[in-house]
Amino acid sequence: MNKITKASISGLAIISSAALLAGCAGGTTEPTDPVETSFLACGVSDEGSWSDRSFNQAAYEGLEKAKAEIAGVDIKGFESHGPSDFGPNLDQAVADGCDVIFAVGFNFSDGSLKTAVEANAASHFVWIDGWNEGWDNLKPISYKMAESSYLSGYLAAAYSKTGVVATYGGMDIPAVTDFMLGFENGAHQYGIDSGKSITVLPWQFVGDFGNTQVAKSISDGFIADNADVIFPVAGSLFTATYESIKESGKDVVFMGVDKDVALTSPEYADLTLTSVEKRMTQAVFDVVKDLSSGGAFTTTDYVGTLANDGTGLSDFYDFDGKVDSAIKAKLEELKSAIIAGTIDPTKDPR
């Protein structure tokens, strides 16, 4: 009784102080700029922080880029620690008089964005990974991630020595499964082209984008099943896969998503074969640039594809020498075929 009670009290203190330190480190305080601003661009994050090295960060860097490069643009970022923050953050962004509000992520489909969009007809919203349900004040930004993921799957299968590759997702939502579908199709295509037997292990889902324990146990399972290329489509959870690979001691690599992971998280570059980039930074920047220079707000979709460079594979960096030049040439060929429409990366593989 005695010790346990004490331990639980000090445990509380430790938890709180850990939260304290994490809070300091992850703080994204924006300096209030005294310079006159003519355009205020705001972003509300998906669950997690603006510094998640992945999805949220990619979007936020677009805002930061706009602030740095376009005179008169100021930005505000609202981090959501959970879905219950979506609504209040959107309300606050509206109350702050933001000229455009970016809702970053599919998860805003829980009704919070619908409420905000319908209640504030005069505010302009941009929904990344979203769609328009007939609103005239919302512009969707979406990506055909299956296109670039198809290339990554082909590369993964060609790189694999065991002939087994695997992918897992954060949540079973279209914005995630689009990657996985393209990956699986690409891997199977390599099997057909090369005549080798290629296995794509059954898909797994973590359930969210924060649970490193589950992500690690999924990765452990993949490695135990002989997979030697893993494709985690789960934001920052690739770090758990990295850890799992290191612990196994096996010759396994993974591929990043959203950002050029080898470049932005160099401490993980030694196992990053390549990354499937979702170039939100540029898309966000382009929207802010257009609107802030007097462009009219439109509800037209922005769709990132291989053709408009909205998505694509990252540089191979350290792995450049380990990828056969014939494969590199083949990837270029496939890319042209996807752009031309002769390959459908989203066909049902089964």
Partner: protein, 436 residues
């Protein structure tokens, strides 16, 4: 010197957890106010030293100290302005509704914190730690969600049934821990913590299958949305998000007060909390009280679960607890485990949650508020530090609180304390006897 210190540590170790808990819960109001103020002072230091303008002025501090102080005071001003606008009243709101919305948001966030806080507080009064509010909220949510879409009942009836299901779910999960303690002596801290994970995985399973998610094509765990009949209606109309769940919370504060201060079962709860051996001698079935108190605790936690599930039109996922289960512990500690204290502590923490967006808008990281919350508890739960720092008089002679003195006076203080505790329990026992 070091010898004295060693002796002191030894005597402190001999203090039982129950004593420490009671000491924390008997914190004077002055001590709590000081703890809150001190925590805000530390929070403000963080506000100042994370402010970009302040950081820019620092290298040039000796050249132009004025700029540093101007930047510091403007960052503090921004903090308080954001707190006021985000949690109480926003004078910049375009409509009257928008101006008053922050206050209702504070209440909305405070609701589940207060209810779960009452649940945890109840077990504190019985000398137990219910660390399992998270699991109880999950179980309550699962039950409430099940009733909310599997049944199709008339308006009014459906809501009542769903609420009752939520309360029962949380209460059952909580009572299991009490039963294990009563039957096997298993410590409730360990059991409730473990049961959090069992609940999480059970509920996740139910949300992946037809039990809670019939007809779903995705494997993402999520419960079916409640029928409109089973949703807590909005309290102040569509302009505000606050719903009838808050009325349930206020009612549960009143019930808690009556239960703990006026009812005979509440008296037995407290008697066991003071001294289970004395309570047993006085004829109280202590084991039964363990189970009952955990069951009652679960009922209050269930109110929080119902608020989350049927109130805030959120997706019902395994994350429905939203950290409330653990924040409830801090609310109960800060509130001194009495009804009004928990209500006020919950309102304070609810306001801190509600003000998050306004803080971010003002360029202050809302994480600083989490720091302030943690510090408040640290200061409330570390009375020796507070007393030593402010040289407050001792209300109770407790060794841990005494200023460092000689070994001799420690023994004396300890004897005094034991006498004090003993006489208190004797008094309780007599009271119990006379009631019969």
């Amino acid at each position: 010197m070091s010898d004295t210190k060693e002796k002191k540590d030894m005597t402190q170790v001999k203090l039982s957890g129950r004593d420490i808990l009671q000491d924390i819960l008997s914190s004077s109001i002055l001590r709590i106010v000081i703890a809150i103020l001190l925590a805000f002072v530390f929070g403000l230091l963080l506000v100042i030293f994370t402010n970009a303008r302040v950081l820019e002025s620092l290298p040039n501090f000796f050249g132009n100290p004025g700029e540093f102080f101007a930047a510091a005071s403007s960052s503090i001003g921004a903090f308080f302005e954001a707190f006021f606008k985000g949690a109480i009243f926003n004078p910049n709101g375009k409509t009257v509704e928008a101006q008053f919305r922050p206050l209702t948001e504070s209440l909305r966030f405070a609701g589940p914190l207060i209810a779960a806080g009452l649940g945890v507080a109840l077990t504190f009064r019985v000398g137990m730690f219910n660390i399992g509010a998270m699991g109880q909220i999950l179980f309550g949510s699962a039950f409430a969600a099940y009733a909310s879409f599997q049944f199709h009942l008339p308006v009014g009836v459906h809501l009542v049934v769903a609420v009752i299901f939520g309360l029962i779910g949380a209460s059952i999960w909580s009572a299991i821990a009490g039963w294990l303690k009563a039957q096997t002596g298993a410590h409730e801290v360990i059991v409730t913590i473990m049961m959090n994970y069992i609940a999480l995985n059970l509920v996740t399973y139910a949300m992946r299958t037809d039990i809670l998610n019939p007809g779903a094509t995705s494997t993402t765990p999520q419960a079916h949305a409640p029928d409109p009949n089973a949703v807590l209606p909005l309290l102040l109309g569509p302009g505000f998000k606050i719903h009838w769940g808050f009325i349930l919370v206020l009612a549960s504060v009143a019930v808690y007060w009556w239960l703990m201060e006026k009812s005979s079962i509440g008296f037995k709860f407290r008697a066991v909390g003071f001294n289970p051996d004395a309570a047993k001698t006085a004829g109280i079935n202590v084991k039964r009280i363990y189970v009952l108190s955990m069951a009652f605790s679960g009922l209050f936690v269930g109110i929080a679960a119902v608020n989350q599930t049927l109130g805030d039109s959120l997706r019902i996922t395994p994350g429905i607890d939203g950290g409330i289960g653990f924040e409830a512990i801090t609310v109960a500690l800060l509130g001194g485990s009495n009804a009004i204290g928990v209500l006020l502590a919950g309102l304070l923490f609810g306001a801190m949650k509600a003000t998050g967006p306004a803080m971010q808008s003002a360029g202050v990281s809302p994480d600083i508020l989490s720091v302030v919350q943690g510090l408040i508890i640290l200061f409330v739960a570390a009375p020796p530090l507070i007393k030593a720092m402010f040289r407050l008089p001792n209300q109770r002679s407790t060794i841990a609180i005494d200023a460092p003195t000689t070994n001799k006076s420690h023994k004396k203080a300890k004897a005094l304390k034991e006498a004090g505790v003993d006489s208190a329990t004797k008094a309780e026992a007599t009271e119990e006897g006379s009631e019969k």
